[in-house]
Structures are given as C-alpha cells and as structure tokens.
C-alpha cells in the first residue's frame, strides 16, 4: 500500500549516501597531493640519509668537504653549494632589474598596442623548454665568451649566470607586470594630482604598492634558477672547484645529480639523493619566504 514513501525514502537514503561518499572521494583526491609530497620527502630523505646513519659518513664532511671523488668514496659538496648560490645570485642581479624594468615599461609606459603584442609573447617564452635555452647558451654564449672575450673556456660561471638570467626573464616580467597592473588607478591619479611626474609616480607610488607581487616574481625567478638542471649542464663545465672568478667553470647541485645519476649505484647514488636533500632544503626555504611575503602582502 505504502510502497511509494518507502521508495522515496530509499532514494533519499541513496542520495545521502552518494553525497557522503563523493565527499570522501573528493577528500581523498585532495589528500593525494599531501601524500605525494610526503612520499617525495620520505623517499628522497630516506635514501639520502642512509650514508650518514648506516655507513658512518659525516654530514659535516659532506656539506663542507671540498672533494667529490665518488670512485674513492669522497663526497664533499661544498663547491657545488657555493656554485649554486653564486649562479643564482648572479642570475638575479642581471635578471631581476631587467625583468622588473621591462614589466614596468609594459604596464606603465608602453603604448597599448605594443604591450598587447609583447606581453603575450613574453608569456609564451616562459613555456619554451629550458633545454632550448641551454642549446642557445652552448651554441652562442659559450663560443662568444671564448672567441670575443678571450676566455680560455666558455663553459663558466658567467655563462651559467647569463643563461639563467635569460631563462628567468619571462617569469619575472609576467608576474611583476600582473602585480603592477593590479595597483589601483586612484593611486596614480592621486600622485599625479599632487604634481608628481609620471616617472616619479611609477617609482615612488606604483612600484612600492606592488611590492609583494614583485617580491613573488623575484622568488619565483630564483626558484627557477636554482632548480634548473639540463640547460645548466650544457654550459657549466661541471668542474669540481669552488669558483673564485666569473670565468671558472662550476658544477651546481642540480647538475651533479643529473650528470652522475645514470652512473651511480650504492653509496654514490645515496649521496646524490643527499645532494637532492640540500637542494630541496634551499627550495623549501624559498617557499617559506614566499609564504611569508604573500601573507604580509595580504595584510
């Protein structure tokens, strides 16, 4: 007699069940990124800490040792840490001012018609495989340094810095330009009304207001520079020395991993994972800084 209410109740139950179930499925999917991160950290740290826990290698010797001779069980990555830091800072010194000024130009100075062409083109270049920047570096920058500037070898710190600076340009320009464009028009109008020049307004009002966005651009560019691998292998020279001049060839952390991973096994391989941990720590530090910046910007 009363089959209908029963049926409806059943279908309602089903509905509730589906609601609950789908919520769980969605949660699981979202948690997958947490799981992935934990797996990555777990595996890389597990592999990379083995030599120090089980095999009696000293972390201090690893971090501050100058000799990396895997076939003789010497694993010191200090030259690579220094190389990574030098290369990244050098790339920032060149890439950030040029990128930032380009961003200001595109957002504030350039006629609309020009900005409309250049901005998307620059964005597009952010998508070009980094290997191609390396190919360009090897075929153009390295010979240039050798032949025109008379260096004894073109594979050098300065070559790495130039390639990385070029590579980070699209990222820095795009992010900084967005940040500058987001500054409210009223700021500019207010400043101009007070008698400030256009350039004065840009540098005293607009850029400071876009500070957190610009910092994000810098940090992202930095992340790209410190993590780049394949383009760098081609132009770094991969020498195992602490660079003392721009013309020394260098081996950054990333390069060390990619160069030797194929050959490595046993302790050598674990030491490459340990190299990965050091690199990873740098990146986490950067992420932390980025998070601080964006939370400050939010206030």
């Amino acid at each position: 007699m009363s089959t209908l209410p029963v049926k409806r109740e059943k279908s309602n139950k089903r509905k509730y069940f589906m609601e609950k179930l789908s919520g769980k499925v969605f949660l699981f999917c979202a948690l997958l990124s947490v799981i992935s991160l934990l797996l990555i950290i777990g595996f890389v740290f597990f592999k990379g800490s083995k030599p120090f826990i089980g095999e009696g290698y000293s972390i201090v010797d690893f971090l501050f040792g100058n000799d990396w001779v895997p076939s003789e069980n010497q694993f010191g990555i200090f030259p690579m840490i220094v190389a990574s830091i030098y290369a990244t800072i050098g790339a920032l010194i060149i890439g950030v001012p040029v990128g930032l000024f380009t961003a200001i130009f595109l957002a504030e100075i350039a006629p609309k018609s020009i900005a409309k062409i250049i901005s998307p083109a620059v964005q597009l270049l952010a998508g070009i495989p980094s290997v191609l920047y390396g190919v360009f570096g090897l075929a153009v920058i390295v010979p240039f340094l050798q032949n025109q500037l008379g260096l004894i070898k073109g594979q050098s710190l300065i070559a790495v810095i130039l390639v990385l600076a070029i590579m980070m340009l699209p990222t820095v320009v795009t992010v900084a330009e967005t940040a500058i464009r987001a500054v409210p028009k009223s700021y500019r109008e207010g400043s101009l009304a007070l008698g400030a020049s256009q350039i004065g307004t840009i540098f005293k009002v607009v850029v400071p207001s876009a500070k957190s966005g610009i910092m994000t651009a810098v940090v992202l560019g930095m992340g790209r520079a410190i993590g780049e691998t394949m383009a760098v292998i081609l132009v770094a020279g991969n020498s195992l020395i602490i660079p003392t001049s721009l013309t020394d060839s260098i081996r950054p952390l990333t390069t060390n991993i990619a160069l030797e991973m194929g050959y490595a096994f046993g302790t050598h391989q674990e030491m490459l994972f340990a190299t990965g941990i050091v690199l990873f720590s740098f990146i986490l530090l950067l992420n932390f800084v980025l998070a601080r910046i964006s939370s400050k910007g939010g206030n």
């Binding site: 069940f17 004894i152 073109g154 020498s239 060839s249 160069l259 050959y263 490595a264």
Partner: protein, 291 residues
C-alpha cells in the same frame, strides 16, 4: 566517454547504490583502460616479439645500436639499448635489470665472479686537441702530467703559448676508468678545474670549439673536427692497436649472468661475433676481434 562528457551528461543522477561502488574505481578504470588501449596500439609493430634489454657504456652504445638495427632487419626481436655508463650497465647485469650489460672497461675481480664476459670488439682511446694545435705527439708521462695538472701550458710540450684546458669524462665512465688506468693516475689526482663532459660526443664538441682544450675520446668518434695525438710516437690507428703497439686501448664487453641470458640474447651475441657482425664493427670505427 571522457570525464568531461560524463559530467555534461549529468551521469551521476542515475547512479544507484551498487553502481556507486563503480564510481569509486572510476578513476582507476579510466587509467587501466588507457593503459590497455595504449599497449594494444603500440603492439602492432612487432607483435609479441621477445625483448633483449641491454644497458651500459656510452662508448659501446652507438656500436650496439647499429648492430641491433641490422639484426632487427632479419629477426623478429626487440632490442632495447640504454646508454647509461659502464658501471651502471654492469650493475644492471648483476641485478638482472638488464639481460646484457655493456662495458668499455675490464671487469673488476668481484664483478668477474658473477658475470660472463664476451669481447665483441676492441676500441682505442685517442687524445684529441683543437685542429689548430701543433702538438702532434705526446709521451704517456706528458699525458699524465697534463691531466694531473703538472703541465699547464701547451708550450711545455712544444706547442703555442696557450693555457691547457683539460676535458675529462665523469666519474663512473668506462672510458675514463680505462684511460686513467692505462695512463696511470686516479680520479682524485685529476686536475680540479677540468671540464667534465658526459659523453664522447660532448668531449669532441668541447675540444673542437676550444683551442686550449685537450680530451680523450673513443676511436669511433674521430672525425676532421678534432686533431688526434700520437702516443709515444705511435699513431692512433686500428692496426697499431691490434699489433699492440698503441697502448691506449680497451675491450668492448658484453657481460651477462649465465642464468639471465635468453636464447634471443645468445643469438644476438653470436650475430655480433659472426663475420657479418664484425664487418659492422669495422664500419663504425671500432676494431674487430679478428682482422
């Protein structure tokens, strides 16, 4: 049906409890479906042919690829060649990851214990310089002094007044192991600011574009872009290697574990050692086992 279409069709409305379970595995099914389909598609070229997996030396690699190319023309078999370096290739053969490992250096004692080796060819290593370099001959001691940083200028060995830039292979490379063993220095002694290049081709291009540079490459890679240097007055040629006059030579090995070698793998090795295979060896610039 793609997930996008699925969403558009509002498919979830009709799903009942039992089918709800299907929903959980929806993602999984899509993945499996995709995998199965991809496999089907790709399986068309060579049916269910056996695969011989080979990995190891980047010096042996190009030769092995050419041998495999010829071999596959007549035999229904897949040959997968990964050029990852001698040491890694030997390890793979020991672990059974690869059926055959390629090595361009002699096996160490502990490796000999578990592996069978077959010499498929010999190879010479040649010291190379920029084409403009006048130095045409070096003694083995001079080579050692250059690579360990005792000689730092070309004028010390009769060349122009130019600083020497040493280019070496990376640690773990069979060519580097063999070269260092014959010349007589260890990895720790290698001059620190040497450029490390990860492959014969890379050394060749680095040396070919830098008038300061000196490096070493396998005979196979010799061409007119670089200048070859004689050792102790003996020219780097295949004949001199076979007559044992030229000292910088080493065997190209195929190594395998007895129990891991398949019939197909054995046939491939037999093919390499046949006169047809050895002809290909000669054509690629390596030195045949028998002349």
């Amino acid at each position: 049906m793609s997930i996008v279409q699925f969403v558009h069709l509002g498919g979830f409305q009709m799903i009942d409890k039992r089918k709800g379970m299907v929903l959980i595995t929806l993602v999984l099914t899509i993945i499996l479906f995709a995998c199965g389909k991809n496999e089907e598609k790709s399986g068309t070229t060579n049916g269910n042919a056996a695969t011989i997996s080979i990995s190891g030396s980047t010096s042996v690699g190009p030769l092995a690829e050419k041998l495999a190319e010829k071999y596959k023309e007549k035999n229904n078999v897949n040959i997968e060649i990964n050029q990852i370096g001698s040491s890694a290739g030997i390890t793979n053969a020991v672990n059974g990851v690869s059926e055959i490992g390629m090595s361009s250096r002699d096996l160490k004692e502990e490796e000999k214990a578990s592996l069978q080796e077959t010499v498929i060819a010999y190879d010479g290593i040649v010291v190379v310089t920029h084409p403009s370099n006048h130095v045409k001959n070096l003694t083995i001691t001079q080579v050692k002094d250059i690579f360990t940083g005792k000689i730092t200028n070309w004028k010390e060995v009769g060349g122009d007044d130019l600083e020497i830039v040493v280019v070496s292979r990376e640690d773990g490379s069979g060519s580097r192991d063999a070269f260092q063993e014959i010349v007589g220095y260890s990895s720790g002694e290698l001059v620190r600011n040497s450029i490390i290049a990860s492959g014969n081709g890379n050394i060749k291009t680095t040396v070919a574009t830098n008038k300061h540079a000196v490096g070493f490459i396998s005979f196979e890679y010799i061409d007119e872009s670089i200048n070859t240097v004689s050792i102790n007055g003996v020219e780097a040629t295949a004949e001199n290697v076979l007559r044992q006059k030229y000292s910088l030579s080493r065997p190209f090995l195929f190594v395998h574990k007895e129990e891991n070698l398949s019939d197909e793998g054995k046939k491939f090795i037999d093919f390499i050692l046949s006169s047809e295979g050895q002809k290909i060896v000669r054509e690629t610039g390596a030195i045949p086992v028998k002349m």
